[in-house]
């Protein structure tokens, strides 16, 4: 019995390891056709789902026909599983009769969209979250800090889809009146995302600040320092590493957030020229296109998912294992 229980708990623990590896390998194999087709150019190519005509020049024609053949094979394989593809196959064949075309996918727009919304969210949330953390940790009396702390944590518990709906119908109109431009844009998406990560960032920053030993603070107060000076010269330097870790962790959250952004970013595969232009992010591209995608298009979405997974994995590891470990 003892042995069984021990084996059982070891198996569950190993499952975490297996899951993480499994996610990586599954995404990679599903993205493989797109990776083979587009390589690393995928990251810098701004065109999504664009038909390009293959030119029939002597040298290139051979290579191009190969490409088409590979694409056809891929489609045919999937066609066994999914009858919807049949239409597309026919279309592809029709195309070949006249001019050879192929559909290309590039991930630049959603990648840029993801990074920019996250940056806007961070720029908006950072000062307010720091203010809240200072308020909770140092300024407010215990009972007020407790109540406000719970309120802020409740804000974090509200499902993200609610943030999206509220943002689209109530927050975005005000922002677009103030700054001009569309109601669905990089700016409104980023700001709503900022509101969403605000409580999370504030809560973990407060926890970092609370690790400052009381003796240090008391000595500074005894020397006649004001609250501001204690916070600036004692608490911030002491908990700096932890605070940076908290910020990066919040950033990791913002990168992968889907629903709040989906309502507000506009979901168009166009590079934004201004901050008030609509665009798209990786999670939103997946949320809105996965259902209809097939073949290479679906594979390209998996490629995006893989990129997102790797970015957030790196960001979170950096926060957890460099900054937050050091803080302990």
């Amino acid at each position: 019995m003892e042995k069984i229980f021990q084996k059982l708990s070891l198996t569950s623990a190993t499952l975490v390891f297996v899951l993480l590896i499994g996610i990586f390998l599954t995404l990679y194999s599903a993205a493989k056709p797109a990776i083979d087709e587009f390589g690393f150019d995928f990251i810098t190519n701004p065109d999504w789902n664009k038909e390009v005509v293959l030119e029939n020049l002597d040298d290139e024609a051979i290579i191009d026909e190969d490409d088409v053949a590979i694409a056809d094979e891929d489609d045919a394989e999937i066609a066994d599983e999914d009858d919807v593809i049949l239409d597309e196959d026919e279309m592809l064949l029709d195309d070949e009769d006249e001019t050879a075309t192929k559909t290309i996918y590039g991930g630049l727009v959603p990648i840029v969209g993801t990074l920019l919304t996250t940056l806007i969210a961070l720029a908006f949330a950072l000062p307010i979250a720091m203010g809240i953390a200072v308020f909770l940790a140092e300024i407010a009396p215990k009972n007020i800090s407790y109540v406000v702390g719970i309120a802020i944590e409740l804000l974090a518990a509200i499902p993200s889809i609610i943030f999206g709906m509220w943002g689209l119908y109530y927050f975005a109109p005000i922002i677009s009146d103030l700054f001009g431009g569309y109601q669905v844009s990089l700016l409104t998406a980023g700001l709503v995302l900022g509101v969403m990560i605000l409580p999370f960032m504030a809560a973990i920053t407060r926890d970092s600040m609370n690790t400052t030993p009381a003796v240090l603070k008391e000595s500074a107060y005894a020397l006649g320092a004001t609250k501001f000076e204690v916070i600036k010269d004692i608490i911030f330097p002491y908990s700096k590493v932890g605070i940076i870790g908290s910020i990066i962790l919040a950033l990791g959250r913002a990168l992968g957030e889907t629903m709040a952004v989906a309502f507000l970013i506009g979901s168009v595969f166009v590079l934004p020229q201004k901050i008030t232009d609509p665009t798209i992010s990786i999670p939103v591209a997946m949320a809105n296109n996965f259902g209809e995608a097939s073949g290479l298009g679906e594979s390209a979405l998996f490629y995006l998912a893989l990129i997102l997974f790797i970015i957030s994995f790196a960001v979170i590891s950096l926060a957890k294992f460099y900054f937050l470990k050091k803080a302990k």
């Binding site: 003892e2 229980f5 021990q6 059982l8 708990s9 569950s12 623990a13 499952l15 975490v16 899951l19 993480l20 996610i23 599954t26 995404l27 194999s29 599903a30 599983e81 979250a129 203010g131 809240i132 200072v134 308020f135 909770l136 300024i139 407010a140 406000v148 309120a151 802020i152 804000l155 518990a157 509200i158 499902p159 889809i161 609610i162 709906m165 605000l198 409580p199 504030a202 004001t226 609250k227 501001f228 000076e229 916070i231 990168l255 992968g256 957030e257 629903m259 989906a262 999670p283 997946m286 949320a287 996965f290 259902g291 998996f302 998912a305 997102l308 997974f309 994995f313 979170i316 590891s317």
Partner: protein
């Protein structure tokens, strides 16, 4: 001058707290006003196809319930391994990986389950949705179990062993009992988190307009339907989405507050 700077700084900090509270108030006020005005008791009796929400609420509960049935035992036993059995490197590696998984983008988990279950089985299903939610839940339960067990004093374990109890007896009858309240709170918070998830369900369970208990077909989901309804042009669909959001948020907040209440009473 120093005192002035200090005053300004304190004022700014209080202002930030007020801004945070204002957003919470604004969102809750919107939800209550819009939600209550479209709220009607018949929402609980009719299915979506007749303009109600019954099938969606039941469906979401079932998805989160099955996810818990999968996620809680796996998460707890893994947490027990890390804290009680694991030694050195491997246990701390698992702890770190589970920490990372806790923050993994939920839509990526949805894509993973899509490739793993939806494609091979030929279509979206309630099982796929429940598995996606379970994967979201496991690391949270591991984290709670791990940190709550670490608070149990070593002496309790030693006393149990000294009485001749085997290790798993000590874990189940002493350590878990001592950490029960904390673990339950963590599980409630984890449940509150997954019941409001949308992204992992979008292409795993999808949603359905009809009442269903058959987990091997597309399964009604409250959150996915909110997303669909909110994007429809008709005013009536959007009102229904607000009513659904209101019900969802009330559910989430009640579960969340219950969890906090339990811990507070214990203390």
């Amino acid at each position: 001058m120093r005192l002035l700077v200090n005053k300004i700084f304190l004022a700014l900090s209080i202002l930030s707290a007020l801004i945070g509270l204002a957003f919470l108030g604004w969102i809750l006020a919107t939800l209550f006003l819009k939600g209550l005005s479209s709220f009607h008791f018949s929402l609980f009796l009719d299915d979506l196809v007749d303009g109600g929400l019954r099938n969606l609420i039941v469906g979401q509960m079932i998805l989160a319930g099955i996810a818990s049935l999968i996620g809680i035992p796996l998460g707890m036993t893994a947490g027990i391994y890390i804290q009680e059995y694991g030694q050195g490197r491997y246990a701390s590696l698992i702890r770190d990986l589970s920490d990372i998984m806790m923050s993994a983008p939920s839509i990526v988990i949805g894509a993973f389950v899509y490739a793993l279950i939806v494609v091979p089985t030929g279509g979206t299903s309630g099982w796929a949705g429940a598995v996606a939610l379970a994967i979201m839940m496991i690391p949270v339960v591991i984290n709670t179990t791990d940190s709550m067990l670490s608070l149990v004093p070593r002496e309790l374990r030693e006393a149990g062993i000294a009485l001749g109890a085997s290790k798993y007896k000590v874990i189940i009858d002493i350590v878990i009992k001592a950490a029960k309240v904390g673990i339950m709170t963590g599980i409630l918070l984890a449940f509150a988190r997954i019941i409001g998830e949308t992204a992992p369900l979008l292409f795993t369970s999808e949603t359905s307009n009809y009442f269903s208990l058959n987990l091997s077909e597309s399964f009604p989901s409250l959150t996915v339907s909110i997303y669909d309804l909110a994007n429809e042009p008709e005013e009536s669909s959007r009102d229904l989405a607000w009513a659904a959001s209101f019900i969802l948020t009330v559910m989430v907040l009640i579960i969340n507050l219950t969890g906090r209440f339990i811990t507070r009473n214990k203390k």
